[in-house]
C-alpha cells in the first residue's frame, strides 16, 4: 500500500513539479502557525497550515523544509487537524530548488476542489538542534542552551499570514533575537514575548518562499537563549539484540547503550562535596544526570544492568504483570537505574541493559500460512534523548526459514545473517536493521515472520544427545580394550 502511494506520489509530483513554476500555484496558505517546543536534544515542531485550493482536483500538497531544517529533522508526520490518522507523505528527491529547500509531498485524503479549505498539521522532531551556550559550565552553574531556526516557514505557495511561536519549558529565557529587514511583511510588531512564549510575527503576504531568491533576500536566523532544567542526553550508539527462544518460551532483549551528556561540558572539576550538598538540599544542577527512569514492557523478568566492570547494583525495578498480546497494557514495568557515577556535562557512560519477557506476549502463530510472527519494539526510549545510531538484531530460532520483516519506519540498512550461539549446529538466522536519529516518536515495532519446521525444534536435543551417546560409546569401548603388553594373570 505504502509502495503504491509512493509511486503515485512520485508520478503526481513528477507531473506537477514542472507545472508548479510554470502554471502558477495550485494552493494558497491562508494561515501558517508554527509552534516550536524548546527542549534539550529533541525539539518538537508543529506547523499548522490552513490551506485553500485554487484549482479543482487537488490531491497533493507540498510542504517545504529548509536545508538545515531537513538535516535536523529525524521524524515527521502530517495529519488533518483533529484527526488521528496520519497522511501519506513522501520526501521528494527532485527538489524544486536544491539550495533553498526540499519538498515533502502530502497526499490529501480526498480531492480538494477550488476554494476548498483544509487544516493540515505537520509535526516534526528535530535532533541536535540546540547547543550549550556557554559551552562549558561549572558544576553549580545553570544549563543554558541556544536554539536557532529560520524566521519564515517556507512554502511553495503564497501565504497570507504566518507566525512562529517558540515555547520554553521554563520562563527563564535569557535572550532572543529580533529579525531585521522584514518590515514589508510586518504590520504590528516583529516579535513579542509573554512569559515562556515568544511569538515571531504575524507576517503578512509572503510570496512563495521555497526558492533561492526569497531565502537569500529575506530569510534569517532567529536564536533563543534559554535555561533548560533537564539533562541533555544523547545515546551515541545503541545495539539492541533480541533473541527469540521457542524452547525457553522467552524473548530476551539486550541493549548496549553508550550514553553521553550533551549539556555544557564541565568546567573545572567534579567536586563530590558540592554534589552531595546539592543532593542533600534537593537542588541538583540541571546538567547532572543521577538517575534514569526507563519504561520496560510489562511482564519482564531477569532484568540485568551491568557495564564493562560488572554488575551495577544501584537500580530498582517495579515490575508490572504480563499482559496478553493485542491487549493494551495498563502499566509498564519501571526500571529506575543509577549510573555508576553522576553524569555531568560532557561525560560518557556505557552500559548494558537486558531483560526477558514471556514469548507469548510478543509472538503470534499465523495458522493460515503456517508461520510465526514476532513483534519487537525498536528501542526502549530514554526520555528526552536522541539515539544517534541504532542497530537492532533479531535472532530467530535455529532452523527458522522464509524470514520476512517490516520496519515501522525507514531503516538505513537491513540484512539477514547467521548467528551462532549456544550449542547451535547450523546457526540461527538473524535480522539486522540499522537506524539513526531515533527519538521518543520512533516507538514502533518491527514485525518478523518466519516458519520453523518441526525437525528444527528437535535439532539441538538430538545433536547434544548424539554427542553424549558417542562419548559413552567411546568410554564403553575404551573400558573393554586391553592394550597392556604384559597381561596380568
Amino acid at each position: 500500500m505504502l509502495q503504491h502511494w509512493r509511486r503515485l506520489c512520485l508520478l503526481v509530483a513528477g507531473s506537477l513539479l514542472p507545472s508548479l513554476s510554470l502554471a502558477g500555484p495550485s494552493f494558497e496558505n491562508t494561515a501558517v502557525v508554527r509552534t516550536i517546543e524548546l527542549g534539550g536534544s529533541v525539539i518538537h515542531v508543529s506547523t499548522t497550515y490552513a490551506i485553500k485550493a485554487l484549482e479543482d482536483g487537488q490531491t497533493t500538497y507540498h510542504i517545504a523544509l529548509a536545508k538545515d531544517e531537513k538535516e535536523k529533522t529525524s521524524w515527521m508526520e502530517a495529519k488533518i487537524k483533529g484527526q488521528a490518522k496520519p497522511l501519506a507523505i513522501t520526501v521528494l528527491d527532485e527538489d524544486v530548488d536544491t539550495d533553498a529547500s526540499s519538498l515533502v509531498a502530502v497526499t490529501l485524503p480526498k480531492q480538494l476542489s477550488a476554494h476548498g479549505t483544509l487544516n493540515l498539521v505537520f509535526e516534526s522532531v528535530q535532533t541536535h538542534a540546540t547547543r550549550p551556550y556557554p559551552e562549558r559550565a561549572a558544576q553549580t552553574d545553570p544549563q543554558l542552551l541556544k536554539y536557532e531556526a529560520d524566521v519564515f516557514v517556507l512554502s511553495p505557495y503564497d501565504t497570507l499570514v504566518q507566525r512562529t511561536k517558540v515555547r520554553s519549558l521554563s520562563p527563564d529565557i535569557i535572550s532572543y533575537s529580533t529579525p531585521q529587514g522584514v518590515d514589508e511583511f510586518v504590520r504590528d510588531g516583529t516579535v513579542t514575548r509573554s512569559g515562556a512564549t515568544i511569538t515571531y510575527g504575524p507576517y503578512h503576504n509572503i510570496p512563495p518562499s521555497a526558492n533561492v531568491e526569497f531565502v537569500s533576500k529575506y530569510q534569517q536566523t532567529i536564536s533563543i537563549h534559554y535555561n533548560f532544567d533537564y539533562p541533555v542526553l544523547e545515546v551515541k550508539n545503541l545495539e539492541r539484540s533480541v533473541e527469540v527462544s521457542h524452547w525457553g518460551a522467552n524473548l530476551n532483549v539486550e541493549d548496549k547503550i553508550h550514553l553521553h551528556n550533551a549539556g555544557p561540558a564541565l568546567k573545572g572539576h567534579f567536586s563530590r562535596l558540592e554534589y552531595q550538598s546539592q543532593n542533600f538540599f534537593g537542588r541538583l544542577s540541571p546538567h547532572t544526570l543521577d538517575r534514569l527512569i526507563l519504561q520496560l514492557p510489562p511482564g519482564v523478568t531477569n532484568v540485568y544492568y551491568y557495564d564493562l566492570n560488572g554488575n551495577v547494583s544501584t537500580s530498582n525495578l517495579r515490575a508490572a504483570p504480563s499482559v496478553p498480546k493485542n491487549s493494551k497494557a495498563s502499566q509498564n514495568s519501571i526500571l529506575e537505574m543509577r549510573p555508576r557515577y553522576p553524569l555531568l556535562g560532557g561525560w560518557n557512560y556505557s552500559f548494558t541493559l537486558g531483560f526477558d519477557t514471556p514469548l507469548q506476549d510478543s509472538v503470534g502463530w499465523d495458522a493460515a500460512n503456517d508461520r510465526y510472527i514476532v513483534a519487537v519494539p525498536v528501542t526502549t526510549h530514554i526520555s528526552g534523548s536522541v539515539v544517534d545510531e541504532a542497530t537492532v538484531k533479531i535472532i530467530l530460532p535455529e532452523g527458522a526459514s522464509n524470514v520476512e520483516f517490516t520496519s515501522p519506519f525507514h531503516a538505513l540498512s537491513s540484512s539477514v545473517s547467521t548467528h551462532i550461539t549456544y550449542l547451535d549446529t547450523i546457526g540461527r538466522p538473524a535480522v539486522t536493521l540499522a537506524y539513526e536519529g531515533l527519538t521518543g516518536k520512533h516507538t514502533g515495532v518491527i514485525y518478523v515472520s518466519y516458519s520453523v519446521p518441526f525437525f528444527a525444534h528437535l535439532r539441538k536435543p538430538l545433536a547434544v544427545g548424539a554427542v553424549f551417546f558417542g562419548l559413552f560409546m567411546l568410554g564403553f569401548a575404551a573400558k573393554r580394550v586391553d592394550l597392556r603388553l604384559h597381561k596380568q594373570s
Binding site: 573545572g268 564493562l308 560488572g310 560532557g346 561525560w347 549456544y422 550449542l423 549446529t425
Partner: protein, 778 residues
C-alpha cells in the same frame, strides 16, 4: 567368628566390589560438587567478578590471549604498565594459568558454547579444586587406602586453607597450582613405587605444567630430591628410585627450561641445585650398585660407600664454590626471607609490605584447618608406623611445609594438602579400628590360636601384624576392605581371617568413639562453610555493608572511580597510584600506570613513594617528568575502610627512604613517635602530597561540625590542606577513591603556587595599608 554387629550374608564378592566402586564414584562426585559449590559463595553473594589485585592482571592477560591469539600473547609488550618503561609481559609471567583458560575458552567456542572469558576465569579455581580433590584422593590412596583417600579428598575439598586461594573469582596461579602439585606428587609416588618411567614422565610433564603456572614450583624442585636423598641415606636405594628420579629430573628440567621466565635458572640458580646434585649422586650410587653386583667383597663395598659419600660432599662444595665464583646465582632475597623472618623488613621493605608475607599467627592455623591441625601430628605418627617409601615423602613434606607455613601466611597453602592427607590417614585408621566388626578373641594362654578356617600356618601376633601390613600394602584394604573380607569370609570362608588379640569389645565403645568422630566432622563442615562464607568470599573490589533495614548494600567505589577513569579521561592518560592498585587500574580503567603489583622495579616504586611523601613543589616535577595526568589515592576515613593509603603510607616512606635516604626520613612523619594525622601531625606529614590529597576538603563535608577520620579515630582540623599543583577531578560516592588531575604549567609561566594565590586574590594584601589609612581618617 564373633562380630560386634550382624553383617549381611550371602553377598557375592563381585557385588561387594561393584557396590564399593559405585559408592566410590558417587562419593568422589559429591565431594567435587561440594568443593565447587562451597566456592560459589562469592558469586552468589556478590557477582561473577574477578577478585583482589593480581587476578585482575591475569584476567587482562587472558583476555589478550583469548582475543588476539597465543603468539600475540607470547610476544606481548605492554607499554601501559610501568610507564615509561613498559613491561615485556610474555617473558615475565608464568603463562600456565592464562593458557589453561585460553584452551578452555577455545574448546568451548569450538563446541559452540560462547562462554564469556570472564566467567571461565572466575570459575576456573572452583573447577580445579574438584580436580585437586581427585588428585588428593589418588595420592592418599597410595598412602593408605580408598577410604583414607575419600576422606582426604573431602577435607581438601572444603578446607578453608585451600578455599582462601581458590574461591570463584580468585583467578590466581594458586588456583591451578595445588592440583598440579598434588598430581605431580602422586605421579612421583606412583613412579617410585612401580619404578615406572611412564609415571616418572607423567610427573615430569605435570612438573612442567606446574613450572609454567606458579613460582612455587621450587617447592617440588626441592621436595622430590630431598625425598630421594633421604631414601638414599636410609639405605633404601632401589633401581625403582633410580628410574623414577632420573626420568622425572631429565624430562622435567628440560621441559621447565622452555618457560621463558624460568629459562636457564634450573642450571644457574641455587634453588635448583639440590635437584641437580641428587641427580648426580643417584648416578654415582647406581654405578656403585652396578659395581657391587659384580664384586662381592664387603670391604670393597664399604670403600665404595665412602667414595660415594665423599663424591657427594665434593659435589656440594663444588656447587658452593661455583656460587661464590658467580657461576651459579645465589639465593634470592625472597628466599632468604624464608629462613630469616626479619630479613625482608631490613633489606627488602617492598616484600615485607605485603600482608601475605607476614609470619602466620596461631589462630589462623585453626581458622584455616580446624580440627585437622591436631589430627595432623597423629597422621604423621601413623606414617612412621608403616614407614614405606611414600610415607617418608609425607613426613618430609609435613616437616618442610609446617616450617614454611609458620614463616609466611601465604605458604599455609602448601601445608594444607599434607595436613589433609595425614589427617585423613589418622582419622581413617581410627574409623577402621572402630568400625571393624570382628571382636578380638580372648586368649588367656597368650598362645597362637589354631582355628580351622585359617588356612595359614599358625601365626604369632607379631606375625599377624606383619601379615596385615603386607595385606594392606597389597590390596589397600580399609574399613570397607575389612567389611568386605569379613563378609566374604563369612560367606565363603575362602580368605584368611586374621585372628587379632587387639580390638574393641562390644558396641558401646565403638559408638562413643564414632559419634565423637562424626561430631568432629560435622563441626568441621560447619566451620568450613562459615569461614568460607564470611572470611574468604569477599571480592575486595566490592565491599558489602548492610542497610538499616538489614538488606545488603554494596559499596562499589572502586569500580565507580575506575569506570569514570575509563569513560571520561583521555585514552592515553597516565594514572599514578600506589602499586597495589596498578593491576586494577589497568584491568578496570584501562589506563596507563606507573607501578603495579608486579613489583620488579624497586626504584620506580620508590619514585612514586617519594612523590607521595614529598611536599607538592617537590612532587610536581616528578609528576610532570613521568607525564602523570591523574593521581589516585584511596581514603577510607569517611566510612571506616581501613585498607587505605594513609595506613600504607609508612611503607611508601620506608621504600623511598631506601633509595633517597637524604630526602625522605621516616621519623619526620611521626609526632613524638606517634602516627598522627590530626592537627598534631608533624609538619612534614601535613605538607606531603599523600596527606593533602587524602584530606583535601574532607573537613568541609561535616559542615562546620568536628570532622573525624574513622579509620584512625582522630579529629581532623577544621581547615584542611590546600592544593596548588593538583586539582580534584573525581571523588567516589563514599570518598574511598579520590582522583586528582595534575595541573599543566601556568600559561603565563608563573609558578602554580603564585598563580593560585593570585587567582584567589591574595595579592590584595597591598590594599591593606590603604584601609588602615582610611581608618585613621575616620
Amino acid at each position: 567368628m564373633p562380630t560386634a554387629y550382624p553383617l549381611p550374608e550371602n553377598v557375592s564378592p563381585a557385588t561387594v566390589a561393584n557396590t564399593a566402586s559405585l559408592l566410590r564414584i558417587i562419593a568422589l562426585g559429591l565431594i567435587s560438587a561440594a568443593a565447587i559449590a562451597s566456592r560459589l559463595f562469592a558469586v552468589i553473594n556478590f557477582e561473577s567478578i574477578i577478585h583482589e589485585f593480581d587476578p585482575w592482571f591475569n584476567y587482562r592477560a587472558t583476555r589478550v590471549l583469548a582475543s588476539k591469539g597465543f603468539y600475540e600473547f607470547w610476544n606481548w609488550f605492554d607499554p601501559t604498565a610501568w610507564y615509561p618503561l613498559g613491561r615485556v609481559v610474555g617473558g615475565t609471567i608464568y603463562p600456565g594459568l592464562m593458557t589453561t583458560s585460553g584452551v578452555i575458552y577455545y574448546i568451548l567456542h569450538a563446541l559452540h558454547l560462547p562462554v564469556d572469558i570472564r566467567n571461565i576465569c572466575v570459575l576456573l579455581a572452583p573447577g580445579f579444586s574438584a580436580l585437586t580433590a581427585w588428585a588428593t584422593y589418588m595420592f592418599t590412596k597410595e598412602m593408605k587406602d580408598d577410604s583414607a583417600g575419600l576422606l582426604a579428598a573431602a577435607f581438601i575439598g572444603i578446607v578453608p586453607g585451600y578455599i582462601s586461594r581458590s574461591v570463584a573469582g580468585s583467578y590466581d596461579n594458586e588456583a591451578i597450582a595445588i592440583f598440579l602439585l598434588m598430581f605431580t606428587f602422586f605421579s612421583w609416588i606412583k613412579a617410585l613405587k612401580q619404578g615406572s618411567a611412564f609415571f616418572g614422565t607423567i610427573a615430569a610433564l605435570f612438573y612442567f605444567y606446574m613450572v609454567a603456572a606458579w613460582g612455587g614450583y621450587v617447592f617440588i624442585t626441592n621436595m622430590i630430591p630431598l625425598h630421594a636423598l633421604v631414601l638414599l641415606l636410609m639405605g633404601r636405594f632401589t633401581s625403582r628410585l633410580y628410574v623414577a628420579y632420573s626420568s622425572w629430573y631429565a624430562i622435567g628440567t628440560l621441559a621447565s627450561m622452555q618457560v621463558p621466565f624460568v629459562g636457564f635458572q634450573p642450571v644457574r640458580t641455587s634453588e635448583h641445585m639440590a635437584a641437580l646434585g641428587v641427580f648426580g649422586l643417584l648416578q654415582i650410587v647406581a654405578f656403585a650398585q652396578l659395581v657391587r653386583a659384580h664384586v662381592s667383597s664387603k670391604q670393597f663395598q664399604n670403600l665404595l660407600f665412602v667414595a660415594v659419600v665423599s663424591t657427594g660432599v665434593l659435589g656440594f662444595f663444588a656447587i658452593v664454590g661455583l656460587t661464590y665464583k658467580g657461576w651459579i646465582a645465589p639465593w634470592t632475597g625472597r628466599f632468604y626471607s624464608l629462613w630469616d623472618t626479619g630479613y625482608a623488613k631490613k633489606y627488602i621493605p617492598i616484600i615485607a609490605s605485603v600482608s601475605e608475607h607476614q609470619p602466620t599467627a596461631w589462630p589462623s592455623f585453626f581458622m584455616d584447618l580446624h580440627f585437622l591441625i591436631w589430627l595432623f601430628p597423629a597422621g604423621v605418627v601413623m606414617c612412621f608406623r608403616a614407614l614405606r617409601d611414600e610415607h617418608i615423602f609425607v613426613i618430609i613434606y609435613a616437616a618442610m611445609a609446617s616450617y614454611f607455613a609458620g614463616v609466611m601466611v601465604r605458604l599455609m597453602l602448601a601445608l594444607t594438602p599434607v595436613v589433609c592427607v595425614t589427617s585423613a590417614v589418622a582419622l581413617s585408621t581410627l574409623l577402621d579400628t572402630y568400625l571393624d566388626p570382628t571382636e578380638p578373641t580372648v586368649n588367656e594362654k597368650a598362645e597362637p590360636v589354631n582355628d580351622p578356617p585359617s588356612t595359614n600356618v599358625p601365626v604369632t601376633p607379631k606375625k599377624a601384624k606383619k601379615l596385615k601390613d603386607k595385606e594392606t600394602a597389597a590390596t589397600a584394604r580399609g574399613a570397607l576392605g575389612d567389611v568386605v573380607s569379613s563378609v566374604t569370609s563369612a560367606a565363603g570362608g575362602s580368605t584368611t581371617s586374621p585372628k587379632t588379640t587387639k580390638g574393641i569389645f562390644g558396641l558401646d565403645g565403638r559408638v562413643a568413639v564414632l559419634v565423637n568422630a562424626l561430631g568432629l566432622l560435622l563441626f568441621f563442615v560447619v566451620h568450613c562453610t562459615w569461614v568460607t562464607a564470611n572470611a574468604y568470599s569477599s571480592p575486595s573490589v566490592v565491599l558489602a555493608s548492610t542497610n538499616p533495614d538489614g538488606s545488603q548494600h554494596l559499596i562499589d567505589d572502586f569500580r565507580e572511580a575506575y569506570y569514570w577513569l575509563r569513560q571520561n579521561t583521555a585514552e592515553d592518560a597516565v594514572v599514578m597510584s600506589w602499586w597495589d592498585y596498578g593491576y586494577q587500574i589497568a584491568g578496570m580503567a584501562n589506563r596507563t600506570t606507573l607501578v603495579d603489583n608486579n613489583t620488579w622495579n624497586n626504584t620506580h616504586i620508590a619514585t612514586v613513594g617519594k612523590a607521595m611523601s614529598s611536599p607538592e613543589e617537590v612532587a610536581y616535577p616528578i609528576l610532570r617528568k613521568h607525564d602523570v595526568n591523574y593521581v589516585l589515592v584511596i581514603f577510607g576515613g569517611l566510612i571506616g575502610y581501613s585498607g587505605d593509603d594513609m595506613n600504607k603510607f609508612l611503607w611508601m616512606v620506608r621504600i623511598s627512604q631506601g633509595v633517597w635516604p637524604d630526602e625522605i626520613q621516616e621519623p619526620n612523619y611521626f609526632n613524638n613517635g606517634e602516627y598522627r594525622v590530626d592537627d598534631r601531625a608533624s609538619p612534614t606529614m601535613k605538607e606531603c602530597l599523600m596527606y593533602k590529597m587524602t584530606y583535601y576538603r574532607f573537613a568541609q563535608l561535616f559542615g562546620g561540625g568536628q570532622a573525624i577520620d574513622r579509620v584512625r579515630g582522630q579529629h581532623m582540623p577544621a581547615n584542611g590542606p590546600t592544593l596548588d599543583y593538583l586539582e580534584e577531578a573525581f571523588t567516589s560516592e563514599n570518598w574511598i577513591v579520590r582522583i586528582y588531575e595534575v595541573k599543566k604549567d601556568d600559561v603565563l609561566g608563573r609558578d602554580l603556587k603564585v598563580a593560585n594565590a593570585f587567582g584567589e586574590g591574595k595579592k590584595r594584601k597591598r590594599t591593606k595599608p590603604i584601609a588602615r589609612r582610611k581608618a585613621i581618617a575616620a
